[in-house]
């Protein structure tokens, strides 16, 4: 269509002044949420990795020390791997968000790229939470139909650690949902009215 030639700076500043306060507010929330995501991922990974426990279990009448480690279950291994990926992603995006604080014209492009990767990371974190949660639930309650015995009455420290880790990962996935909502809202508000 048509474009009118105008000097760039006054028009740009006059068009960006009404939206600058909202942009700054969203930007602060954006950085805070990304840092929260990094913290949640880090805590979840650390708590899960330090959950090893050895207990005396009766095996054919003799008490034998049996360990329970997170890497005995492929679900927990996937959980640690996925949360490590999300922790790395959140560091990168926090730094990227901080670096465009003084360059408003880069922010829109950055927001666009972030939304796609944010949704993918949401998928990864949510699937990791669901995976570990499913296995932990079977470990907690057992399943008599299939013959899987519960283990949490024996390995209480292991179950506490993995349960706490899964709760923190759930918080991380909620933070990612909020991030996507924030990016959607800030993109929506940047449409010139």
């Amino acid at each position: 269509m048509a474009s009118i030639d105008k000097p760039s700076d006054p028009e740009y500043t006059s068009s960006s002044t009404p939206s600058a306060p909202e942009g700054v507010d969203y930007f602060k929330f954006d950085v805070i949420l990304r840092f929260l995501l990094f913290a949640a991922s880090l805590i979840a990974v650390v708590v899960m990795v330090t959950s090893d426990e050895t207990e005396l279990v009766l095996y054919q009448g003799i008490p034998v020390p049996q360990p329970a480690k997170f890497r005995y279950s492929p679900a927990f291994v996937y959980f640690v791997a996925a949360l490590s990926v999300s922790g790395l992603y959140s560091i990168i995006t926090t730094l990227a968000s901080l670096s465009v604080v003084n360059k408003p014209h880069l922010k829109t492009k950055l927001l666009l790229h972030f939304i796609f990767s944010d949704v993918i990371i949401l998928g990864i974190i949510a699937s990791a939470t669901g995976t570990a949660g499913g296995v932990a639930y079977v470990g907690l309650k057992g399943n008599k139909h299939v013959g899987w015995v519960k283990i949490c009455h024996v390995y209480d420290k292991f179950c506490r650690h993995s349960g706490g880790s899964i709760a923190v990962a759930l918080f991380g996935s909620i933070v990612t949902v909020l991030l996507i909502w924030l990016s959607a809202y800030s993109i929506h508000s940047r449409i010139p009215k």
Binding site: M1, S3, I4, D5, K6, S8, E11, Y12, S15, A68, Y72, S73, P74, A75, Y78, H105, L106, T108, K109, L112, I115, F116, V119, I120, L122, G123, I124, A126, S127, A128, T129, G130, T131, A132, G133, G134, V135, V138, G139, K141, N143, H145, V146, G147, W148, V149, I151, S173, T176, V177, I180, W181, S183, A184, I187, H188, R190, I191, P192, K193
Partner: protein, 211 residues
């Protein structure tokens, strides 16, 4: 003097405009009621049908995929006669054992989550003609992505345990006995995974169109 050129990508109505001299990189869809300030942005009069059609097709696809995933797992049931030898002197007992989907809570979660996603896809299809609900649809779409991915993960984990067992925790594998049951679970997981990817595309496309 700023020269403008337009690259129109026809994929689901995502239009990119690029301006020299100012790296704004913004994407605008003209049918959202956007008024151009007259200087920086290009207003593209795109018919809403091509962008809305892509959205509609994706929603129908999501509805179908989650519906089939729910049904495939919801009717999953297998009975097998297993011969159990208790004492050597007696002949082996033939015991019928059944595997049903609601014996495992992860599968219950899977069926419920896919049913919710299917119902939501149907409702959002009906409400897509109503203006002004785009933001709410995007918000709930994001929640659906999270829900579907988590139920996929839980069912996959339980399926892997059923398939391989877990020797450290003394959880025996089940799929050597109930082969058809496990195959149906696998098919259902794949369908739900495709459905969750469709929801992911819905979120991303709506947000790309909005800018």
């Amino acid at each position: 003097m700023n020269t403008l050129f337009v690259n129109r990508h026809k994929l689901c109505g995502v239009v990119t405009t690029m301006e020299e001299g100012q790296s704004k990189g913004s994407i605008i869809n003209g049918m959202e009621g956007v008024e151009s300030k007259g200087s920086r942005e290009i207003m593209v009069a795109k018919p809403a049908s091509s962008t809305g059609a892509c959205d509609l097709v994706l929603r129908v696809l999501a509805l179908l995929l989650t519906l089939v995933a729910t049904i495939v797992l919801g009717v999953d049931k297998q009975t097998k006669v297993v011969s159990v030898q208790i004492v050597d002197t007696l002949p082996p007992f033939h015991v019928p054992v059944t595997a049903e989907w609601h014996y495992l809570s992860a599968f219950v979660y899977f069926v419920v989550a896919n049913a919710i996603a299917c119902a939501y896809a149907a409702i959002s299809l009906l409400l897509s003609k109503v203006k002004g609900l785009g933001t709410l649809t995007s918000i709930v779409d994001t929640l659906m992505v999270a829900l579907l991915f988590s139920c996929n993960g839980a069912t996959t984990a339980i399926g892997v345990i059923g398939y391989q067992g877990n020797s450290h925790l003394q959880w025996n594998k089940v799929c050597n006995v109930f082969g058809k049951f496990c195959n149906q679970v696998a098919v259902s997981i794949v369908l739900s995974l495709l459905g969750s990817i469709v929801f992911l595309l819905l979120v991303v496309l709506k947000l790309h169109r909005r800018t």
